[in-house]
């Protein structure tokens, strides 16, 4: 028995914590476990890949998981960029997804009929019990449900050790997920079949649109030139997006001043006056390609014109 898992999410969603909690709970249950996240940018919103291996005997070969038994996806917006991981799941394995989408739609998106599909609205459950969009507790619950370990009680103890706070709230979320996660069994599993692909051993950073050059071509002294942040479409990091009610906006531009990412923009909007004249007026808009959803704009808005709306 050796279960190899990969957990995919974004910084700030508690993905590393989730693997720590499940690993800790597994150790309480008498297993050996190794939670070895791929240590990337360590910043909120950046894609994160974490490995968790559970075994009955000691685990000394600490390396990236290549063909997981289980993939856990924290954010259904990550499916396309992380498809390589879904393809690498062993036939008969499990794909656990945090999503509010319907099973039919999800089945189509995942595109595999030889794995168990486990669906739950982990963010919704987390918001309900914890009040924060941190889906780690619910996903641990779904994991326990389909794998048969670790025991729920052990997960609770692990919350106490790993979080030391909001234990009851998180555990309530875990329990609800355990009870309500939807399991869609595979249509067929060929026992001898191999996964379609393997997760290649790369750095967490090789996700940008860069030309991956060798040492002779790389920028001397690692010098970085202006405009490099344009390559990062940081909009993918969002859990919530700002939406503005123009009727309340007084164009004070505080949001524009405070936005750390130049994602608040002044745009021209064509409007029609009361007597039919068409003219252009300035309005505040958001560049969702770069907006990370940090909510600073909503926070500083003096009239409450900006509201954060859940995206996943």
């Amino acid at each position: 028995m050796r279960v190899e898992t990969v957990w995919l999410g974004r910084g700030g969603q508690g993905i590393v914590t989730a693997t720590y909690i499940v690993a800790n709970a597994a150790v309480i249950d008498g297993f050996y476990a190794l939670a070895n996240p791929e240590f990337g940018a360590e910043r909120r919103g950046a894609p994160v890949k974490a490995f968790l291996t559970i075994d009955k005997s000691p685990i000394e070969d600490q390396e990236p998981v290549k063909t997981p038994d289980v993939v856990v996806i924290f954010d259904d917006k990550l499916i396309d960029t992380m498809r390589f991981a879904i393809d690498a799941v062993k036939p008969g394995g499990h794909v656990i997804v945090n999503t509010a989408k319907s099973p039919e739609e999800m089945k189509k998106i995942i595109g595999r009929n030889d794995v168990y599909l486990v669906l739950l609205d982990a963010v919704g459950i987390a918001l309900k019990h914890v009040g924060l969009p941190v889906p780690n507790g619910p996903l641990a619950g779904a994991f326990s449900k389909v794998m048969g370990f670790p025991r729920l009680e052990s997960i609770k103890t692990a919350f106490e050790t790993q979080l030391g706070k909001a234990v009851e709230e998180n555990f309530a979320a875990t329990k609800e997920a355990y009870e309500t996660a939807l399991v869609v069994p595979p249509e067929r599993v060929e026992q001898a079949a191999k996964p379609k692909g393997v997760i290649s051993t790369t750095s967490a950073f090789l996700t940008g649109p860069y030309e991956i050059v060798g040492w002779p071509e790389v920028s001397k002294a690692g010098a970085v030139f202006p405009g490099s942040s344009l390559f990062y479409a940081t909009g993918g990091w969002r859990l919530e997006k700002p939406v503005i009610d123009h009727s309340k906006c007084i164009m004070c531009r505080k949001c524009w001043m405070y936005c750390p990412d130049d994602a608040v923009v002044e745009a021209w909007k064509e409007v029609q006056g009361p007597r039919g004249r068409v003219f252009r007026m300035k309005v505040i808009d958001f560049d969702y390609q770069y907006c990370k959803g940090c909510a600073v704009c909503a926070d500083v808005c003096p009239t409450g014109a900006i509201k954060m709306v859940r995206e996943i």
């Binding site: 150790v27 309480i28 476990a33 000691p58 000394e60 390396e63 990236p64 051993t201 002779p216 690692g222």
Partner: protein, 402 residues
């Protein structure tokens, strides 16, 4: 993990299994060793250690003076002062933090202070890179510190306890550093066994206070001038003590095994007895080296693996014996020895020790990702003669020497 230790002997101390990251395992071991003064400055990836220790002190679990110093230079200065006053001390750092305390590192040696320092290793900037390789600790090799490199959270925990006992032994009186992989050990959650009763740790490693220290009743000056007529002799005592410390390190390790059921030795070997190829490395990478050796064995190659654990004092004679029969010694280094004949620091030392060419490669620099397949491919190149000895190759460098 227990399987990484030598076969358990009689285990006296009752233990319980918990799960911790390497950093928190080190913090717990330090707490059980009851240092009286801790001075530290946080730096990634070591930060959780000093945070946890601050928490222990703050909530009364550890009765120590915790000095939240403004820099690593001050951290080392403070523990030197406290140790000179007779206190058991602890500090921890990584990378540039070590660089910042560098000026004080040889002073701890010259003053013969049994300071124990943890190190979640991290490469040196620039470019800024907070991730793990062994550049920092390797730059300490010439200073006179005892240097341990641990593989796992369990071993880091055990080694901190051993280090106090060794450092404070009257035959030693030298500072010791316990290094372990930044991130790959420091931030990886894994099971470990810890004593049920913390007192057992203090029974195993009681504070000896046997070192030369400041005492108002018997006034003395420490750190005084050593003119050309005296410096060398004073310093030579530290040289001899470091050499002698090897015996103490082994003794303590053996006794630790009797108490806690885990022993590690000066270095670890895996199927090296009849090996034609031995893959040598250090830190968490050893598990993969072992996996590769097993895979090669299945394919009919007599392969083995060796992990360096105590690199200062250098166990030259023992390594010579362990490796003399191996036709090919392949050293995978995790730090760059810039400009040396071999760019791998441990490859250089092993070549000097064995007095014959070794195979050398660099890997995991700046924590470049690695897996056992990559090590396997490299080992095959050595076996097939595609890689030559006396040259340094790279595993994972784009455009590198593969």
């Amino acid at each position: 993990m227990t399987a990484q230790a030598l076969a358990p002997v009689e285990k006296k101390v009752a233990q319980r299994r918990i799960a911790l990251t390497g950093n928190h395992a080190v913090a717990l071991a330090v707490k059980m060793c009851r240092p009286e003064v801790i001075a530290a400055y946080p730096i990634t990836p070591q930060t959780p250690v000093v945070e946890k220790l601050a928490e222990y002190v703050n909530n009364g679990e550890l009765d120590a003076e915790y000095i939240p110093v403004e820099s690593e230079h001050s951290a080392m200065s403070a523990v030197i002062g406290a140790s000179a006053a007779g206190a058991r001390t602890f500090t921890e750092t990584s990378s540039q933090g070590l660089g910042h305390m560098y000026e004080n590192l040889p002073i701890a040696v010259g003053m013969r202070l049994p300071i124990v320092m943890g190190m979640a290793v991290r490469t040196y900037s620039a470019p800024i890179n907070v991730w793990g390789d062994y550049s920092d600790v390797m730059s300490m090799r010439e200073l006179g510190w005892i240097i341990y490199i641990a593989q796992s959270a369990q071993e880091a925990f055990d080694t901190v306890i051993q280090a106090y006992r060794v450092a404070e032994d009257s035959r030693v009186h030298l500072p010791a550093v316990v290094a372990y992989d930044g991130f790959w050990t420091s931030h990886v959650l894994q099971p470990l066994d810890v004593p049920e009763d913390e007192e057992e740790v203090m029974r195993f490693a009681p504070i000896t206070r046997s070192w030369v220290r400041l005492d108002v009743d018997n006034p003395a000056q420490l750190g005084a001038v050593g003119t050309p007529e005296w410096y060398w002799e004073v310093r030579w005592q530290a040289v001899e003590a470091l050499r002698e410390s090897q015996k103490v390190i082994e003794e303590v390790d053996e006794e630790f095994g009797k108490w806690f059921g885990r022993r590690y030795g000066l270095f670890r070997t895996h199927r090296t007895e009849d090996a034609e190829l031995v893959v040598v490395t250090y830190g968490s990478l050893y598990g993969l080296a072992k996996k590769v050796a097993d895979r090669l064995r299945q394919e009919g190659v007599r392969a083995g693996a060796l992990r360096l654990r105590v690199i200062r004092p250098w166990p030259g004679d023992q390594l010579k014996k362990a490796l003399e029969a191996a036709e090919k010694v392949f050293v995978i280094d995790r730090a760059i020895n810039h400009g040396a004949y071999l760019q791998g620091p441990m490859a250089m030392e092993l070549a000097a020790t064995l007095q014959r060419p070794v195979y050398s490669a660099l890997a995991t620099i700046g924590m470049r990702a690695i897996d056992s397949d990559m090590i396997y491919e490299a080992a095959l190149k050595v076996l097939k003669g595609l890689w030559a000895p006396n040259q340094t190759y790279t595993i994972g460098l784009r455009g590198g020497y593969e």
